[in-house]
Amino acid sequence: MYELYEFDWSSIPGALPFLWQGMVVSLEITFVAVVFGIVWGTALAIMRLSSVTPLSWFAAGYVNLFRSVPLVMVLLWFFLIIPHLLESLLGFPRGTDMRLGSAIAGFALFEAAYYSEIIRAGIQSVPKGQMAAANALGMNYRQAMQRVVLPQAFRNMVPLLLTQGIILFQDTSLVYVSALADFFGAAYKVGDRDGRLVEMLLFAGAVYFVICFAASQWVRHFQKKLKTA
């Protein structure tokens, strides 16, 4: 006979400030990676669709590379390589804590590959005649993209971009490989310290669920509003 596991949630309230700090780190990584991922992803999508072959090959290579390797591995590369690079190239003092910076860089570069595919599809969903009409009015490629094609493309893509952001938020938990205290990392640390790992991880899971579920409900609602507008 084994004894029933006795849950003990008492260590959670005291850990809340520390967990909150972790949540801030998670949100920080998510936010910067989403913004940078969309900007760089847009650039990649435009390169991929460009008629300049080296550019479209570069973008295709980039996207295929990042989509074919596990995120954890990309993050590890960044933890291991970037600090050394910065130390030797830019003369950063040895031992500077660059875990947060390299986590953000890793996420942003990785996510840009996914964003660029969403954005490419978004650009292609805008009828060809729109670019032609903009050109016919004398707009050059950049003006037509900026004023006519991209605004429509993004409008169609907003729900997908947000959904990808929610996925990214969950994926930030992978930074535990660098012992960076994001929300998941913080929960793990506290649980481990207090011998209450199960409770902590259940609690953390519930928090992730509530946030992501609420966010995706909001995206759906938003999507409906967009459609009727």
Binding site: G129, A133, A136, L137, G138, M139, Q143, P151
Partner: protein, 242 residues
């Protein structure tokens, strides 16, 4: 004004345009017609460089369209074009549709662009719709806005690619009326259209195309009374008894 000289274009081995030659003088109205796939749209899009061509030369007001040194954006900014599917910008209000290229291409100020926009909306009878979005307008109204948008650039000539063929029959005339008025004011126009009533009333010349070639290029009367080629006769018979 527009001179098309021996223009040929092909996609791979498929010839879309074969040695097309014609001229449009200032103030002239040319109607281009012909069966589907004969290259009408392609020809008219070559005139403002939206479609590249491999052989021959097109000049608009003396500027060569095919010359790589030509600033195509600048040339297009004063060649108006109206599309079959209107191609208004759906994310902008009607007045913004009329303003955007004035502001960004011609560098006009906001006040001037707005004033010009309203003046042209007045002219096509749509001033009250200025703040609406294209999706809220009927097809005929959208096409009138598209014409106004092109006119806002003070074009030296206008190209029309089947401007009424996507419209419900009851809306065709409101668009043709705007075009007729434009022609009366002396605008140089090249119109791809199957509206033969419009051609009879307004056109100076009619061009008939078939399989990428200009088969007939005649004064309107000559074309309607005795089209020379059998293809054009057949085409006319079909379209007039429609």
């Amino acid at each position: 004004m527009i001179s098309i000289d021996n223009v040929s274009k092909h996609y791979g081995s498929f010839q879309v345009l074969a040695d097309c030659t014609t001229q449009v003088s200032k103030g002239e109205v040319i109607v281009v017609c012909g069966p589907s796939g004969s290259g009408k749209s392609t020809l008219i899009k070559c005139v403002n460089g939206l479609e590249p061509f491999q052989k021959g030369e097109i000049t608009v007001n003396g500027v060569s369209v095919g010359d790589p040194k030509t600033n195509l954006s600048k040339l297009r900014s004063h060649v108006g074009m109206v599309f079959q599917n209107f191609e208004l910008f759906p994310h902008m209000s009607i007045i913004d549709n009329l303003r955007i290229a004035q502001l960004k291409v011609l560098g006009r100020g906001m006040d001037e662009a707005t004033e010009k926009g309203f003046k042209l909306l007045d002219r096509v009878g749509l001033r009250v719709q200025a703040e609406k979005y294209p999706g809220q307008l009927s097809g005929g109204q959208q096409q009138r806005v598209a014409i106004a948008r092109a006119l806002a650039m003070d074009p030296i000539c206008m190209l029309f690619d089947e401007p009424t063929s996507a419209l419900d029959p009851e809306m065709v005339n409101e668009v043709l009326d705007v075009m007729t008025e434009l022609a009366k004011e002396g605008m140089t126009m090249m119109c791809v259209t199957h509206e033969m009533g419009f051609a009879r009333r307004v056109a100076n010349r009619v061009i008939f195309m078939d399989q990428g070639r200009i088969v007939e290029d005649d004064s309107k009367d000559a074309f309607f009374e005795h089209a020379r080629s059998e293809r054009a006769q057949q085409f006319l018979a079909k379209i007039l008894h429609h």
